[in-house]
């Protein structure tokens, strides 16, 4: 495949794809295809997804993470995505921002999880600069000189966004779901995860997360994000048709909807485990 020109005026070129209400499974398929078959850099912003959907990371176990009976009763779709990380429930109140980049797109950035998350946290710091918050802003503690993992986006000690990644030999994806708003009742579908960052301190979802809408308007967040991306890349507006044109037809994405049968089997595994 010919390598497209990715640098101009000293900044790497990035295709900015703005979407609204695209189903999250469709978004994940698009991301995976662009990761594996495109040689361009992409920034995708999807402003909300149409139906409440649960999205687990690649290794997520439904019996450990989900209230499966409620999910089956209410017919909530469950997706296993191609990136790592935890479980989220997304809906119209979620804003998605995804970066798909060549490994040399950001000068000096090694394509490993921690450096990529560090880079993205600095970019989002620009987005939230000057936003008034209440409560104590948490600092990273390096006093012990142990490597700490930058994971969630928090205001005070409440999470408003989580991210995950997939890294190939020459490219990487870093995607984030931002809780601009959420339905309290939807959080009832998620169990308390076994693996959680220390700062969560066993809080349940409603005590752990917060809404961005209390701090910033939807349009302002998106505009500020685009501006921040524009400070590091040369933006080129793209349409969904442009993205599809560049894709190889043979690639099959791995993100998928779990079948009800699989969820039912997970309930059985959960019962078996509790009896042993």
């Amino acid at each position: 495949m010919a390598v497209s020109q990715t640098r101009n005026l000293g900044l790497p070129l990035i295709n900015l794809l703005r979407l609204k209400g695209v189903p999250i499974l469709q978004q994940l398929h698009l991301e995976e295809r662009l990761l594996r078959t495109s040689s361009d850099n992409w920034c995708i912003i999807n402003d909300g997804t149409i139906d409440p959907t649960i999205v687990m990371g690649i290794s997520g176990k439904p019996q450990e993470l989900l209230e499966i009976e409620s999910i089956l009763r209410d017919d909530i779709p469950v997706i296993r995505r191609f990136t790592g990380g935890g479980t989220v429930i997304v809906d119209q109140g979620t804003i998605f921002v995804t970066f798909i980049c060549n490994k040399d797109a950001v000068p000096g950035l090694q394509s490993y999880p921690q450096p990529i998350m560090s880079w993205s946290s600095l970019l989002y710091k620009k987005v939230f600069q000057g936003i008034e918050i209440s409560g104590f802003a948490r600092m990273i503690d390096y006093a012990s000189c142990t490597a700490v993992v930058l994971s969630d986006y928090v205001l005070g000690d409440r999470k408003f966004g989580g991210n995950a990644q997939s890294i190939t030999k020459n490219r990487w994806v870093h995607h984030t779901s931002f809780l601009w708003d959420y339905e309290i009742s939807n959080m009832g579908y998620l169990k308390l995860p076994k693996r959680a960052p220390e700062y969560r301190q066993a809080r349940d979802h409603l005590e752990f997360i917060c809404r961005m809408k209390d701090y910033i308007s939807r349009s302002s967040f998106i505009d500020r994000t685009i501006e921040a991306v524009g400070s590091e890349f040369l933006l080129r507006s793209a349409e969904l048709e442009d993205a599809h044109c560049t894709l190889g037809s043979k690639f099959e994405p791995s993100s998928r909807l779990l079948r009800k049968q699989e969820l039912g089997e997970a309930i059985f595994k959960s019962l078996t485990a509790s009896q042993s």
């Binding site: 990380g85 000096g108 950035l109 710091k125 490597a147 928090v154 190939t168 030999k169 700062y199």
Partner: protein
């Protein structure tokens, strides 16, 4: 070097954006001050940080100490089944660490003859023993001359140092 650069810039600049997540398990912390990764003689190395040890008709493949150190705590491994073909430079599986899936690329081409099934229950073996208990697949090489295109221990050590220094 890369970890130190990005981590320190974040420590200085950060005000409200992110929170720290430490490993919840008893595994050792990954020190920012660490500058050396183990590289073994007698192994061959790919620029994507996989190693291969050729022993008669079979070659064993895994990821290097440098790779596991940069990836962080491995929590999940996806490996091919026996009988599958792998080809040099292409992905044959993935590891999950720190909310990221990372491709593992085969240093040589061939047929998978054995898979390390211990990794499904104990993925952390990749961190604690990347060259021994953390081996991933064994392959019957289809083109042994491919090994000549890989790096030896000294060359790989220098490669890692240069890669870290340039980021």
């Amino acid at each position: 070097m890369a970890l130190r650069m990005w981590a320190s810039s974040t420590a200085n600049a950060l005000k409200l954006s992110t929170s720290a997540s430490r490993s919840a398990l008893a595994s050792p912390a990954f020190s920012l001050a660490r500058s050396f990764s183990t590289v073994l003689e007698g192994f061959k190395y790919a620029s994507s940080h996989e190693w291969v040890k050729h022993d008669g008709p079979v070659a064993t493949i895994g990821i290097t100490d440098h790779a596991q150190d940069h990836l962080g705590e491995v929590v999940f491994v996806e490996l091919p089944e026996e009988g599958k073909s792998v080809s040099q430079g292409n992905s044959f599986g993935a590891v999950e660490s720190v909310k990221a899936t990372s491709d593992i690329n085969s240093p040589i081409s061939g047929e998978v003859v054995e898979v390390n099934t211990k990794l499904s229950e104990s993925p952390g073996l990749i961190n604690s023993s990347p060259y021994e208990d953390g081996w991933m697949i064994k392959v019957k090489p289809s083109n042994p001359s491919e090994l000549e295109s890989l790096m030896g221990a000294k060359e790989y050590t220098k490669f890692c140092e240069e890669e870290d220094a340039s980021h």
